[in-house]
Each structure stands twice: as structure tokens, then as C-alpha cells.
Symmetry: C2
Subunit: 320 residues, 2 copies
């Protein structure tokens, strides 16, 4: 097949306008956009590379969904409302069916949150997808990693470890039959509404892309505080409990990435306000621990307190 | 070498803040930025892939420069003032010397225009560079491809065909010794100041990345007009004239991309105003033709008028 760049963009990535604040979309040197007065822009950019972030042969509709989901998740973790995205798609050889499915996954998630694809680039090369997303958030309400305070409760949306289990299954390291674990890995739901509701309410926030221990570790490092998690409070779904009971790595739920839940801290005196807001979240949310003055990350399990530095929460991964 | 992602970002891409409107730079889920009140955002995203857009072994300092230059050139073509950029860098294996030189080329050009690198992503994979850039422009003053009018003069900054000659030299198709041609290909100067000066003055504008005939063709198509160029007015530098005199493709200057000059149209009654503004451009600028009612792109050469459709100005390249 020899589909041209312009034809490719027209057929798969040009849709009727969705937003009144897009003055010029795809089709000029730049997109032209009207930002919201009085708000900050929150911007984020993420790349997914075949063979590194996803396996060759991954369902393209899921891939289109996930490529956008990881960026919307970053916006959610700042408390921002998503608005506009651009897509840089590098393809070895344009395949119409692949493009059709990829763009469908991307567009369906974009529509769910009123997000408009306003530009990007298509190039020939090894399969790789870069998404840039822009959202709005009030400067005062933005959720920063550095804002956790001693005494804050630590909360997590959704469930923990399901995407990690999905990866174990895809790699053949687990023989469990858990389609929802693979689905969580391949089609994560960014916690957009939870993030928006938390702007101005939570102190610190991060999305769980590299594993809860590593990501919470970033909050602790940036805020100059420590934390203690409560094992019994961690929202481990039954397949993950079974995985551990069957001899799987018990630290997997803390170490595995790709859950794309958000982890945040709330001042003790505002925890009642949080509970009343949870209806807006579109997902469950539980208290999994608290912020300490003592540096480091600890886990309370039974009568014991385990120092999680030992399982590598400060591990800085090589470029990935 | 096994440099970590965070160490890599800290060492090569974290610098003292440059702009007062950056609330949060590298180091959180998103960057936080304060847009200018009353202005539109102009945004653009471009990918350079090794083996497609540049050859393996390209000087990394030049590559860092060019990766940013192509995005600043797109902003210039909208009349926008550049502000913030993000960089998604995919590397097979992090090499400190390469990173040092690449980041130096990138930062030097960024500093030249007061642009700040505020975020991005580093991943492992085949060498590829995606840059996203954001600038400001008044909604009324933005330079759109669709705004060319019958009677407009057509102008071009700088010179034509030098980057194309550079490519012929690198490919061994020309034996001329013209270091400035290779330099133009590898370190194009985006016409930032010219673009800013043209906002509100020019009608249509585009940057010459795919070749003058193709890029001017986009203006004509979007505006529903035609044009006639004057061969004697084209700013061909002597090495390009020599290339043609020595039997090289005489259409090369019209067909070759990568000059990153800007081509724009100005209403006849404002051409005097343009001349008085040219001092702000930081480069030369010449009138190369005019917009016609008759569709198509023509070239006047001697007593003849040649229809340029025949040299493929409407050729839509395959994904590149």
C-alpha cells in the first residue's frame, strides 16, 4: 500500500471540530488555540516504542487508546482538565486496517473527555507513538509532587497490581486466566474526573505509571517527607491476591507499573471533604497510608513495619 | 554506559529557568505554564527519524539545532513568537558525548530566541526526535495558508536551493565543494524574527520544508488561487547556479526541501509597508512572483511561461 501522508491524515485523523476554542486544527503550519483566561496550561508528552513499551502485534485499537490514556493520566495527576492533543506517529509501513483501528481507539477515548486532536506529524520509521497533551488548571489548585505535608492521608484510586498481573500473564510468567488484568494493562482508564475533582483539595498527586513504590517515592523525595503504607488497606483485587498466594512476587503490586491510577495526599482536616467529593471520581478511592516526618517509605504488615527502600523504591530505571 | 533516565534529564536537559511564565518545568507529571492573555497559542510537533530525515552519524550538535529549528520555523510561518518547547528523545543507547553535543545545539538555539525547554520524555529505541513547540500570536494577525488573495506579491526570505545542494553533496551526486550548502541543510536558521514581523501584515505564509513548489502549492490550494513565479527573481546563490550550469537538475531549487525559509504573500497596497519592515527580518527578502486568479503554479522564464504542475508540485509524498 502506498497511502500518502496527507491522505492518511485526512482519512484517519481528520474529524469534525469538537471544541469552540480551536481556531485552526490540522492543515496549517501550526494549530491555533484559544487558552482559558486566568488558567495555567498543564502540558505533557509521552512516547511509546514498540518492543519497549508494548509488544509487537499489540491490538492497534488498544494501542490508540493507551497512547492517549497515558497523557490524560499525567494531566489528571496535575488536576488539569484535558483540552487538546497532538500525535506524532512513526510507522514502518502504513497499513489501512491498523490505522483504522488505532485511530478508532484514540478517537473514542478523546471523545469520552471532549479532547480534540489538533495536529501532529506522520513519519516513516520503526513503530513509535508520541502524544502531547494540553489541559487547563488554576495555578493555585494545581497538584504538585512537592506539596505533601506531614499528617496527610495517602489515597489511591481504583485497584493496585492488576496491570502488573496482566504483564506477568502476557510474558507467560503467570498461568492465571484473568482477561481483566490484560485489559487493564492494554486499556488503562485515565482518572480524568478524579484528577479534576482533586484540584484545590489534594496536596500532592502523581499517577502510578512506574509502580506505586517508585511513584509515591517521587512525591516523598520532592516534598522532603516520608510515608507509611498499610498492607491491609491496599486495594488488591482477588486475582492479584491469588497471584501472591500461588507464590508470585508479593511486592509485585508495589513495584509493577502501568496501573495508571492516581495516588494523592490530603490534609487530615480535609479528609471529610474528600469523602463527600468521591461521587465525582467515577471510580473507587481508598486511604492506603499516611505521610510521616521520618524520611523513607515503610509498609505496615501485621505487627511489622518493613522499610521499602529494600525492595528498590528509589531505583531509578535506565532510560525507558 | 548505563545512565539513568532521571540522571540523563538532570545532566543534559535541566537548566536554570529562563522565563517568568514557567510555573513548573521538568520534574512533575506536567509542566505548568502561564499563557499570554488575549493571544492564541500556536502549536506544532515534528519528528526527525534517523535514516529518514537525517543520516546515521550526523553531527549531534547540528541535529539538536535542527530538531528545534524545524519547529521554530513552523511557528514563524504562523507569525508566532516562540515560548516553550518539549522534547521526546528516543535513543538506542545513551552516549554521554552525543547527549552533551545534542543538548548544546538544542539549548544554543533555544537561548537565541528566549525559548525554554519545559518537559518531554526519554525512551529507549531506534534514534528519533520529536519536538513540540508553543508560541503566541494574535488571532487576527496569525498567518494562515488559506489567506492568499489575487494580486498579492509573493515573497521569500533568504536564498533558495542551498539545502538541496547540500543534500546532493552529501549523497555524492554533486562534487561541488560548498560547506555552506551542507551547513544550510544541517543547521537551518528558522526565520523567527521575520515571522513575528509579518503577523498582521502578510496574508498567507508557509515555511519551505518540502520545497518551494510543493509548499507554495499548499498556499494556492488552501486559498483557491494560482500563482506565477519569475525565474530571474528567485534568490539562487552562486553555488546553486553553478550546480545548474554544470548540468544539475534545473528544477532542484523549486523541488528541494529543507531550506526553512518562509514564503509569504502581501497585498499590493501594503508592499511599501513591508519594505520598511524588512530591517526587522534579520535576513534578506525578495519578491519572487504574484498571486493570479488562474489556478495552478507557473514559472516565467525568458519569454516562456511553464506550467509547474508538470514538475510535480502537487505530488503528495508518501509518509515521510
Amino acid at each position: 500500500m502506498s497511502i500518502g501522508e496527507f491522505e492518511l491524515i485526512r482519512r484517519f485523523f481528520t474529524r469534525p471540530p469538537r471544541r469552540f476554542d480551536v481556531v485552526q486544527s490540522v492543515g496549517d503550519d501550526c494549530a491555533l488555540l484559544r487558552p482559558q483566561t486566568g488558567k495555567c496550561l498543564a502540558i505533557t508528552m509521552d512516547t511509546l516504542v514498540e518492543g519497549v513499551h508494548f509488544m509487537a502485534g499489540t491490538n492497534p485499537e488498544n494501542l490508540g487508546h493507551k497512547a492517549l490514556a497515558v497523557s490524560l493520566s499525567d494531566l489528571a495527576a496535575m488536576g488539569a482538565t484535558p483540552a487538546w492533543v497532538t500525535l506524532a506517529l512513526t510507522l514502518p509501513d502504513p497499513d489501512e486496517r491498523w490505522l483504522n483501528d488505532f485511530s478508532k481507539g484514540f478517537a473514542t477515548l478523546a471523545d469520552q473527555y471532549g479532547v480534540e486532536l489538533v495536529g501532529g506529524d506522520t513519519t516513516r520509521g520503526p513503530l513509535s507513538i508520541t502524544v502531547h497533551a494540553i489541559g487547563f488548571v488554576g495555578e493555585e489548585g494545581a497538584l504538585r509532587r512537592s506539596a505533601a505535608c506531614w499528617g496527610d492521608g495517602i489515597y489511591l484510586t481504583g485497584e493496585l497490581g492488576l496491570a502488573g498481573l496482566g504483564l506477568e500473564i502476557l510474558l507467560g510468567k503467570s498461568t492465571q486466566n484473568v482477561p481483566e488484568a490484560v485489559a487493564k494493562l492494554e486499556r488503562p482508564q485515565p482518572r480524568v474526573n478524579a484528577g479534576i475533582s482533586l484540584a484545590g483539595l489534594a496536596n500532592a498527586c502523581i499517577d502510578v505509571s512506574d509502580g506505586l513504590a517508585a511513584d509515591l517515592g517521587h512525591i516523598l523525595h520532592a516534598s522532603g517527607v516520608g510515608a507509611t503504607l498499610d498492607w491491609t488497606a491496599l486495594p488488591l483485587p482477588s486475582p492479584v491476591r491469588q497471584y501472591i498466594d500461588m507464590g508470585g512476587d508479593r511486592w509485585m503490586p508495589l513495584r509493577a507499573g502501568d496501573d495508571y491510577e492516581i495516588c494523592f495526599t490530603v490534609a487530615a482536616e480535609r479528609e471529610i471533604e474528600l469523602v463527600s467529593k468521591m461521587g465525582e471520581f467515577g471510580c473507587s478511592c481508598v486511604r492506603i497510608g499516611h505521610i510521616d516526618q521520618q524520611m523513607g517509605l515503610r509498609l505496615r504488615q501485621g505487627g511489622m513495619v518493613i522499610d521499602l527502600a529494600e525492595i528498590g523504591y528509589q531505583h531509578f530505571p535506565v532510560v525507558d
